[in-house]
């Protein structure tokens, strides 16, 4: 014991620095849950990377408003215009410079997309253009035409997902990202921290934060504790359990939706009544305020309410165990083997208390007569069950999954989760396919109406899955900051939105 005391004394004496408290007023520290493997602009759609670089270091042509209700806003592009025939013309903001001093021009935009589609790299954003062929035509320094084949009505929205890099950027992952954003990365110590510093020559308004240091701690209690102890200013993604301070802790819908994906091809899930019974068996309200945070909402769609085509008429399936038993009895009377084992598969660490959610779900299912059991798996294995091709000879499996769509448009969610060719789809319904294809090809109100129809159809008519919750995120923000986290905080954390009190 004495030795330890001496040691602590020695360490206290030897250190001249205290914890990172003494900062200038305009320096902040952000503690994130997950470290960055890469600081590559074309990977900015990956949430852990995006939170640091998206709109801070690298900017996009367009930007989706998540604070107000302004919809798609200009960023690097001042305006855009549908020229017909699938071609869109974008006008770049003049006088924008990259942090290396070079000026932004149309060639940089073209090069940025070349990188996204290059087979030398594995850029994530490519998936948003999966079946679309894009052709770029540089009209002049600040004008570029983008032709999509087939036509892509929401191309300007998709532009909010691709970061723009200088045309000198090599066809490999970079470690010193150059962007047009208000910040430049001044230090990256792998495993420890990333530091962003404000640029003096930024083309837009100067943000209030001069320097941001990013730290990484995977334990939520530690992240929250760091803000409480003054070691950090912002801790996004803490759990409800540790968010116990009303003054500093914010909760907000975080664009994640939890649902149970049902694979209809294996007995007994092929029967509509069984799927209805499954929905009726779940007492969704019981989760909220218990294992899930207060503020969690019952889901009626795979996407959050801020998404285009949100159908306000839908109501969550009612909890009615008696009805569920009746439905099962009816199905059984028709020869459906309702006693066939059902595996509820969930992923560890998918969201806070996922295990408890899984355990509770299984109990609820069994109470109405299902033969369900829980199977918790790690991420790689979860992926095997969640995505096609599904393994042969499997028992009935329902997958608890969390889906994130903060893009404002349900197109990808709908395709992947419901289209018969969708990778995570358990549905094979011609009407669903048609609705998705039609909606994808249109814009405006018509698009919204089609999405609404789709959501109503998959929930009410075919009962494609069991939608559960729109989740709530928690962040702790230090008292000296004036910042309110939003639905987008999962994906990006714009330093320019942070002010000091």
């Amino acid at each position: 014991m004495t030795i330890k005391h001496i040691l602590i004394g020695a360490l206290l004496a030897s250190t001249s620095m205290g914890p990172a408290l003494a900062q200038d007023n305009t320096d902040i520290t952000v503690v994130l849950s997950e470290e960055l493997d890469l600081v590559e602009p074309c990977m900015a759609t990956r949430s852990n990377i995006g939170r640091v670089i998206m709109q801070n270091i690298s900017e996009t042509l367009t930007e989706l408003d998540v604070r107000g209700n302004k919809g798609l806003m200009p960023r690097l592009a001042d305006s855009w215009e549908d020229k017909g025939d699938g071609t869109w013309q974008f006008k770049l903001h003049p006088g924008v410079t990259f942090s290396d001093g070079s000026a932004l021009d149309a060639n940089d935009v073209k090069h940025s997309f070349d990188r996204v589609f290059s087979d030398q790299l594995t850029c994530e954003s490519a998936r948003y253009f999966a079946d679309t062929e894009l052709t770029f035509t540089v009209v002049d320094d600040t004008t570029i035409d983008v032709k999509a084949e087939p036509a892509q009505p929401i191309l300007p929205l998709l532009m909010s997902l691709v970061t723009i890099v200088p045309s000198e950027t090599p066809m490999e992952f970079v470690r010193d990202p150059i962007g047009t954003g208000p910040y430049v990365m001044s230090e990256w110590t792998a495993g420890q921290q990333i530091v962003l510093e404000r640029r003096d020559d930024y083309w837009g308004d100067q943000p209030a934060v001069a320097k941001a240091t990013y730290l990484f701690r995977s334990e939520p209690a530690v992240r929250a504790g760091m803000v409480a102890a003054g070691e950090a200013d912002i801790a996004p993604q803490i759990t409800e359990d540790v968010a116990d301070n009303r003054d500093t802790d914010f909760s907000y819908p975080n664009s994640e939706t939890v649902y149970i994906r049902i694979d209809q091809t294996v007995e007994p899930m092929g029967d509509l009544r069984v799927r209805q019974a499954l929905n009726a068996a779940i007492e969704r309200e019981a989760f909220i305020g218990t294992v899930l945070a207060d503020g969690t909402e019952l889901a009626t769609a795979i996407v959050p309410p801020t998404t285009l085509g949100w159908n306000a008429d839908l109501v969550p399936p009612a909890y009615d165990p008696d009805h569920a038993r009746e439905l099962l009895a009816a199905a059984e009377a028709d020869g459906v083997n309702i006693k066939a084992p059902v595996e509820v598969i969930a992923r560890t660490e998918n969201f806070p208390h996922v295990t408890e959610v899984g355990e509770a779900l299984v109990q609820m299912l069994n109470e109405v007569g299902f033969n369900a059991s829980l199977r918790m798996v790690e991420v790689a294995e979860h992926e095997q069950y969640y995505s096609k091709p599904y393994p042969d000879g499997r028992p009935a499996q329902v997958v608890v999954a969390q889906h994130d769509n903060s893009r404002g448009d349900p197109v990808f969610s709908a395709y992947f989760k419901y289209h018969s060719n969708g990778t995570q789809s358990g549905v094979n319904d011609p009407k669903v396919d048609t609705l998705i294809e039609q909606a994808t090809a249109t814009t405006g109100d018509e698009r919204a109406a089609l999405w609404s129809e789709l959501f109503a159809y998959v929930q009410n008519d075919i009962v494609a899955d069991a939608l559960l919750f729109h989740m709530v995120g928690h962040s702790r923000v230090g008292a000296r900051l004036d910042f309110t986290p939003t639905i987008a905080t999962n994906q990006q954390l714009q330093l320019s939105e942070i002010n000091f009190k």
Partner: protein
């Protein structure tokens, strides 16, 4: 001596080779890294491109051949996740784990030896019982539990120490303290047992007949004789520490090899996993060698 080290090196090289083969093939049984690297809605084409870029599409044996060939040129391959040479990533992490392991181990060894020896000298006494019970409880307390409670108490409530990170020497206090507990509990037991039998040896009688004081009898005459089994256990504990302290590193945000290893395993970053295992295996090999040398230094009968 040189010859002995040479023989050991060759034998260890064989072990290393076996380890490499085992890890290479076993790790590839655990699924496709493309799926984990790319988002869930990535297209097949993107996945195929990823596999092609990293040579994961070739037959397994071809991949292995290529790996060995690169390895012969001291190329451990690229990290799939970090797009950097795997060995760089590993060495950076190891530069943190090594001092952490060494400092903790030194403290553990000193504390366990002093307390264990004193406990053995007055066996069955109050001090002895306290040391035994505290060490046993320490040895059976879950470390993540201890770590989080320590942060809550010492950093958040009392504000004495930083919660986590590595900035200053103060940052090291909690990780070291938490890492300290279990090996200490174990080693103190071994020291106590070993000292117990050594204290009844005939040469202790001689020392008493010579009029040597108690402290030198314990720490000079007896301890060195009692050290052989202790050294063995220290070796085992050191090996565990050189493998990285996953939980402590994870909770305290300590950028060591343990955290890197678990992340790379879960993300199927094979090259990093392999490089990390090779580096730790070499460290363990060197440590085993040091332990053998320590045997010789402690006991001249082994030396001759």
């Amino acid at each position: 001596m040189i010859k002995l080290i040479g023989q050991r090196a060759i034998a260890s090289l064989l072990s290393l080779l076996g380890l490499m083969v085992l890890v290479f093939f076993l790790s590839r049984l655990t699924g496709d890294p493309a799926v984990l690297f790319l988002p869930i809605d990535a297209t097949e084409a993107m996945k195929a491109n990823f596999r092609a870029l990293h040579g994961l599409d070739a037959p397994l044996f071809e991949q292995f051949g290529r790996y060995v060939w690169d390895l012969l040129q001291f190329d451990f391959g690229q990290s799939l996740r970090k797009a950097r040479p795997a060995i760089d990533v590993v060495m950076e992490a190891y530069a943190w784990t090594l001092p952490l392991a060494l400092i903790t181990l030194s403290l553990v060894v000193v504390a366990a030896i002093v307390l264990g020896s004193l406990a053995a000298f007055k066996i069955g006494g109050f001090f002895d019982r306290m040391v035994s019970i505290i060490s046993l409880i320490g040895a059976s307390a879950p470390d993540f539990w201890v770590a989080i409670v320590a942060i809550v108490v010492f950093s958040i409530n009392l504000g004495w120490l930083p919660t986590s990170g590595v900035g200053t020497p103060l940052h090291w206090v909690l990780p070291i303290a938490v890492l300290f507990i279990r090996p200490f509990g174990l080693i103190v037991q071994v020291v106590r047992g070993s000292m117990l039998s050594a204290l009844s040896a005939a040469y202790v009688k001689t020392a008493r007949a010579k009029g040597v004081k108690n402290l030198p009898i314990i720490f000079v005459h007896t301890l060195r004789n009692a050290m052989l089994p202790v050294i063995t256990v220290i070796g085992d504990q050191a090996a565990a520490m050189l493998n990285g302290a996953v939980i402590v590193e994870t909770i305290f945000g300590f950028p060591g090899i343990g955290k890197l290893m678990i992340d790379s395993i879960l993300q199927r970053d094979f090259n990093v996993v392999l490089a990390a295992i090779m580096v730790t295996a070499v460290a363990i090999f060197i440590m085993n060698m040091l332990i053998d040398i320590a045997y010789g230094l402690l006991d001249p009968r082994i030396r001759h």
